[in-house]
């Protein structure tokens, strides 16, 4: 009803290291909490990295440290919700640094909203993605297309976020049990469409969908 007027800043960061993104997020969380910046979304890609969320099981990382290093895959334990996931080239990662106060203070709603964003983006490429009652994220018949893992810091400030497989080399997911779901395949927009997809276009759709879902 009486949603405060919000604006959205979009930062395109290209490809950045996972550790760098962590630092940037920590910094932006403080700024957002102090209201020196508006709601902000970071659009980026990471080099190969496996991250473990708070409910992660190490058994879901299928390679040992040596093997990971040989393949150039970094490993991080991070303070976001969810199990293990993989990020890498061809995957659009979005980190919303948003203040959920005063009218969006509901974690489930936030997750469902992020799913809506992913569904909308997939939809604009003609890919039917759906929620799955068994877990967070969006799925097609072939598998998981987009993953979600978020953190809400003191003062209802969000960080971490969503990862959408655009042209991700899906073989890398074989190094983990994605989100702890053993039977779950993974898919990408390119796999769904059997055609190349332009990352810039996906980013555009992503920003648009964000604005729609969050009424920004």
């Amino acid at each position: 009803m009486n949603s405060p007027h919000r604006s959205l800043a979009v930062r395109e960061l290209g490809t950045i290291e996972y550790s760098e993104a962590l630092e940037l997020q920590a910094h932006l969380i403080r700024e957002r909490r102090e209201a020196t910046i508006p709601d902000t979304i970071l659009l980026l890609e990471h080099p190969h990295v496996i991250t473990l969320g708070s409910s992660s099981d190490y058994a879901h990382v299928l390679l040992d440290a040596g093997e990971l290093e040989k393949r150039g895959i970094a490993l991080f334990e991070v303070g976001r919700g969810g199990d293990v996931t993989y990020h890498g080239p061809g995957q659009l990662v979005v980190y919303p640094i948003m203040d959920l106060k005063p009218d969006r203070k509901d974690l489930h709603r936030y997750l469902r909203d992020l799913e809506s964003v992913l569904i909308k983006v997939a939809c604009s490429f003609g890919v039917q993605a759906n929620r799955d009652p068994s877990g967070t994220g969006v799925f097609t018949e072939l598998g998981k297309l987009g993953a979600i893992g978020v953190r809400v810091s003191s003062g209802w400030i969000t960080s971490h976020g969503i990862a959408l497989n655009v042209s991700t080399k899906l073989d890398f997911f074989k190094t983990i049990v994605p989100c702890g779901i053993r039977d779950c395949g993974v898919t990408s927009l390119e796999r769904e469409l059997q055609a190349p997809v332009c990352m810039a276009e996906v980013k555009e759709c992503m920003v648009e969908s964000f604005k729609q879902v969050f009424s920004l």
């Binding site: 919700g81 489930h108 939809c123």
Partner: protein, 445 residues
């Protein structure tokens, strides 16, 4: 454990950022919790010293559970026997971290001080879990009467189930606690059935594939609640509908005769007001239509509270005219206009949308001839008013006693009723009585 979202019932303590003995500032993060795919920092509700960690890392607890104690005065008062200490008797000082001002809606903002002068509402909130409060509300039980076996005297589900099994339960709902009694000396028994949770309470809507040209939008809160309510209402009550046609000639005459007087009084008496007035009087003679099936009992409501469905376009809300049978025609009319306008302005108070014992909906205002309304959960019947329009009717001329074709303002009424408690003949008698009341409407109503 703070309430982090409407559908979130529990959370897991993933990490304590502060240890017992640490000084904490107000709003400083002191622990992290995780729920589903979200990690969240929980800030301290007040400054002080963390004197006790109640819930350890890795434990999952319900919303409202005490997580830790903070002593605002900095006196390290460590209570070593928290499990046996009733909350109101705690030594003054420690503040419980249950629901945190920064994380909850204003109505829930209560950082508990352990004052003896705690309000009943606060006691209720802190001494029980949502599940227990739900059971208590359904069975009209005052939690203050139960000795809790949980931490700090909290009432657990086992406690309330045991309490109901013993003697305290009345089986009534909160508004009529004192008035409830068993009819015909049948003892009232109530047991929370697990069926409630598995079938009657949880609603999951099946999902469908999205096609390329489609738009997918989340349902807003009102739509979600309405959708759940409708599914549950249909699951619980076997619906039957009966119809009757009612003539508005007399009512039209009263409206014409009274128009100038009502205008002078600034009174707003719609057709719906006439119907609500008549319904509230007729309901007195048909208690089963103003009742609800509750377990193996029937609760006959002691009040006549009429829910009046209001179209918000989009959305729908059902404000309640409480004790309608004590209001006059003008009183009901004005009340309906007031509730409807405040409903559209989103300015209703919570108790103005609760407690309906019977509902009236008016699909006719939009031209519908008749509707088959869904009976709202917790009641046994709903009346639908079809469009009131001029129709050709065969009437008997009173002077010549011959049948003639006349033009009469009429409407089809539908009564949707819970067939577990209202028989078809009851419904027919109710509708006939309503028809008679409306077709010979008292001029002094």
């Amino acid at each position: 454990m703070p309430q982090m979202g409407e559908s979130i019932a529990e959370g897991t303590v993933s990490k304590w950022l502060k240890q017992v003995g640490d000084t904490v500032e107000r709003d400083e993060p002191i622990l992290e919790i995780s729920t589903d795919k979200v990690d969240a920092e929980i800030p301290a509700p007040s400054a002080g010293i963390l004197v006790e960690v109640v819930v350890e890392e890795g434990e999952t607890v319900e919303v409202g559970t005490v997580l830790a104690l903070i002593d605002p005065e900095g006196i390290a008062l460590v209570d070593t026997t928290p499990d046996k200490t009733l909350e109101p008797d705690l030594p003054s000082g420690p503040k419980k971290i249950t629901e945190l001002p920064d994380l909850v809606e204003p109505s829930l903002v209560t950082t508990q001080t352990s004052d003896v002068s705690q309000s009943a509402e606060e006691r209720l909130r802190t001494r029980s879990t949502p599940v227990v409060r739900k059971i208590a509300a359904e069975h009209g039980i005052d939690l203050a009467n139960i000795v809790g076996s949980g931490h700090a005297g909290r009432v657990t589900k086992q406690d309330i189930v045991a309490f109901m099994g013993s003697s305290g339960a009345t089986g009534a709902d909160p508004p009529t606690i004192s008035a409830a009694r068993a009819r015909d000396g049948v003892p009232i028994q109530s047991e929370p059935s697990s069926l409630w949770d598995s079938f009657y309470k949880e609603v999951q809507h099946p999902e469908y594939p999205v096609r390329p040209a489609d738009q997918v939008e989340g349902m807003d809160k009102m739509r979600r609640l309405t959708a759940e309510h409708m599914v549950v209402a249909k699951r619980i009550a076997p619906h039957v509908h009966s119809f009757i046609e009612i003539d508005f000639s007399i009512i039209d005459r009263i409206r014409t005769l009274s128009r100038s007087r009502w205008e002078a009084q600034n009174a707003r008496v719609s057709y719906t007001a006439f119907v609500a007035w008549a319904v509230s009087r007729v309901l007195r003679d048909f208690p089963m239509v103003n009742s609800v099936v509750s377990g193996n009992n029937v609760i006959y409501r002691g009040n006549v509270n009429l829910g009046m469905a209001v179209d918000l376009d989009p959305g729908l809300i059902v404000p309640v005219v409480h004790d309608a049978d004590h209001l006059g025609l003008i009183g009901i009319g004005n009340k309906i206009v007031d509730l409807a306008s405040r409903a559209r302005a989103r300015k209703l108070m919570p108790d103005e949308i609760q407690g309906a014992t019977f509902t009236i909906t008016n699909p006719g205002v939009l031209g519908t001839v008749v509707g088959l309304p869904v009976i709202p959960k917790g009641t046994s019947a709903i009346l639908g008013i079809g469009s009131i329009e001029k129709r050709v009717a065969v009437v008997t001329d009173q002077q010549t006693e011959t049948d003639v074709v006349a033009i009469r303002k009429r409407a089809l009424f539908s009564l949707g009723y819970d067939h577990r408690i209202v028989d078809g003949a009851d419904a027919a008698r109710f509708l006939s009585a309503l028809k008679e009341m409306l077709e010979s409407f008292p001029e002094d109503a």
